[in-house]
């Protein structure tokens, strides 16, 4: 019983962690390389979830829904980049906060205008709605799919950054954009592609999360803030840091919510534990971040520069 609970919680934490990684990967690159604060990243996640919900509902194909989310993320990302974001790279962070805050309000209200305040739900296809048995312990197949997709994206992005030519240019651009530009590389196009890739990954995260959450306006903000915590813990601009930090945060949050109230009952009276346990659990990842920052302000796995 307790072992299977632990295993289930570990898998839940892993699944939450890889979803956070999908969001964090794009955001940390935009932060680290373009030095751009993008609060609207959560809106891209929300748009991805809506695209998946609408297309899946219309075509009965979840695969098409995911594809639509990727397309939406890429297109909206490119539009945003060329219309607003590219004008703000050279400005200071306050302008970034302001502009993307405006975009968050805009996107939240747009989705409410089009689809109303009621949440949408995504039905899973038969093949994914079952459970898988391992060692006599069953776990939803769809959550395994999320973990697999997240790990595949992690491997893919690691290959892209460390082995592919585009990744080499991105890394070079993060160290010395002027020099890369002088060598004849279109650095603006590179930035736009990077932004669109991050947007597509955020939309993918939204599409993957859509069947296990309710799709509604404003769903992007809570997860955005947790993603920011991931990025700060992992070290801004570091994709591998984002991966480890996403898993740490995912596991800490999930296990904390399950075990902290139980653990506190051992030390404190039932009333105190019932009150303080959930409170402490919901603050746990932020406390973790505060401790990491107090000890290592640059994050646990900072990007190697220079």
């Amino acid at each position: 019983m307790t072992f299977s609970l632990l295993l289930a919680q570990l898998l839940n934490g892993l699944q939450y962690g890889v979803l956070l990684f999908l969001l964090a990967a794009g955001l940390t690159l935009v932060f680290g390389i373009m030095s751009f604060v993008n609060l609207a990243h959560g809106s891209l996640y929300m748009l991805g979830a809506y695209a998946a919900a609408v297309v899946t509902g219309a075509t009965d194909s979840f695969a098409l829904g995911v594809f639509a989310a990727l397309a939406t993320g890429t297109v909206v990302g490119m539009l945003l980049e060329s219309a607003a974001v590219s004008r703000l790279y050279r400005r200071d962070h306050l302008d970034h906060v302001l502009a993307t805050f405006g975009l968050v309000l805009f996107f939240n209200e747009m989705t409410r205008m089009i689809w109303g305040p009621q949440p949408l739900f995504v039905a899973l296809p038969e093949s994914l709605s079952g459970t898988i048995d391992i060692f006599g312990f069953s776990y939803p197949a769809y959550r395994f799919l999320i973990i697999a997709v997240g790990l595949a994206v992690a491997i893919g992005s690691s290959w892209l950054i460390h082995k592919a030519r585009v990744g080499m240019l991105v890394r070079a651009g993060s160290v010395n954009p002027q020099m890369v530009g002088a060598l004849g590389v279109n650095i603006r196009l590179l930035n736009a592609m990077l932004f669109a890739l991050g947007a597509a990954l955020a939309a993918l995260a939204g599409a993957m999360a859509a069947p296990i959450l309710s799709v509604q306006s404003g769903m992007g903000e809570p997860v955005l803030i947790t993603t920011l915590v991931v990025i700060v813990i992992g070290g801004i601009g570091s994709v591998s840091g984002a991966f480890y930090a996403a898993l740490i945060v995912g596991l800490t949050d999930t296990l904390g919510r399950t075990y902290l109230p139980l653990l506190m009952r051992e030390f404190a009276s039932r009333d105190v534990a019932n009150a303080a346990g959930p409170a402490l659990a919901s603050m746990l990842v932020y406390l973790l971040m505060a401790v990491v920052l107090a000890v290592r302000p640059q994050g646990l796995f900072p990007a190697h520069k220079g």
Binding site: F101, G102, E109, E221, L228, V232, A290, L293
Partner: protein, 334 residues
């Protein structure tokens, strides 16, 4: 210091004078809505002015000031829940909680700068938000009603009129104080640090101590605004600690003019005024508002105060090139 009236600050001073008379006019016209609405404007103006100490003078982009607004609200709500109406205890709770939380979060946050600072202040505010949400015995998500208003030697903040009066006086006092602070050594050091931290360090000043002081001062003042808001609404809810409120406070400061004396006040009037007008036109006002904020960000950040100072300068060619005495930080971008 020189407090001459230029075109630049004639408008905000006239606005303040008008606001001093507003409750009487509202009472005469039997429109109590206006008193309550403008009391909210004044309270948010206090919060924005408080944020301006950290953001405008110190250049500290804190995306977590709603935390202090919320602490102020709950330092009224929690004692009131247990039947303590003594306003001095509320003030003490507010100053103590905002001060301690400000010092702790400020100390950790100021170890970083730039993007990381923004995200850390945001994360700390979320931490406070989730703490309040999970405290079910104090209303949790739904917030809690405040049964008794703060009372100072028999003067109760129970009516919108009394909150209005206190908020007005506090805002005026704060504005005068900021005007003096800007050109005091403390304010000068902060503003210098915003422009070039390395030079400030080479003069031998410890900038981070100044920044921490500014951050904590800003936190406590924001808490006082929260206290007034709690009394006005007779309600405290975690939604006023959400990160959206922190964002709105930043918009108010930037819209008005960062680092200027009247900027946060003007920005708040503009922000809440536009919000109220859009609400009357369409229920989807937020979409329009979002685009407006985006436009403000793209256009630059001299704000309303900067615009007024510029128009003041072009009207009197003799003073061309002279800085408006009170308005517009040098960060006015062409």
């Amino acid at each position: 210091m020189r407090m001459s009236l230029s075109t630049g600050n004639a408008l905000p001073v006239a606005l303040l004078a008008g606001l001093a008379l507003l409750p009487f006019a509202a009472a005469a016209a039997d429109e109590p809505f206006f008193t309550a609405f403008f009391a909210r404007v004044l309270i948010y103006a206090i919060a924005a002015t408080a944020l301006n100490v950290a953001l405008g003078l110190g250049g500290l982009v804190s995306l977590g000031h709603a935390l202090f607004l919320g602490l102020g609200m709950y330092s009224v709500a929690l004692p009131a829940h247990f039947g303590i109406a003594n306003g001095w205890i509320h003030v003490a709770a507010c100053v103590a909680s905002c001060g301690v939380v400000g010092i702790l979060t400020g100390y950790v946050s100021l170890r970083t700068s730039g993007i990381a600072f923004i995200m850390i202040t945001l994360a700390f505010a979320q931490m406070g938000y989730f703490l309040i949400v999970s405290l079910k015995q104090f209303g949790g998500d739904d917030g809690m009603a405040i049964p008794v208003a703060s009372e100072f030697f028999g003067f109760s903040l129970g009516s919108p009129d009394s909150v209005y009066g206190v908020a007005f006086c506090l805002l005026v006092a704060l504005t005068v104080w900021i005007a003096r602070l800007r050109s005091a050594p403390f304010g000068m050091t902060l503003r210098a640090g915003r422009q070039n931290a390395r030079r400030v360090a080479s003069v031998g000043l410890s900038l981070s101590r100044y920044q921490l002081t500014a951050y904590v001062l800003s936190a406590i003042l924001c808490g006082l605004a929260g206290m007034l808001l709690a009394n006005l609404n007779a309600y405290a809810s975690p939604s006023s600690m959400s990160w959206m409120v922190s964002g709105e406070l930043i918009v108010m400061v930037v819209l008005g003019g960062m680092g200027s004396v009247f900027g946060p006040f003007l920005g708040t009037v503009a922000f809440l005024g536009i919000e109220e007008m859009l609400k009357a036109v369409t229920e989807h006002w937020m979409a329009v508002f979002g685009i407006l904020i985006l436009a403000v960000a793209l256009l630059g950040k001299a704000g309303i105060a900067g615009l007024l100072a510029r128009s003041g300068r072009s009207n009197s060619p003799a003073r061309k090139g002279a800085k408006g005495p009170l308005l517009a930080e040098s960060g006015v971008q062409p």
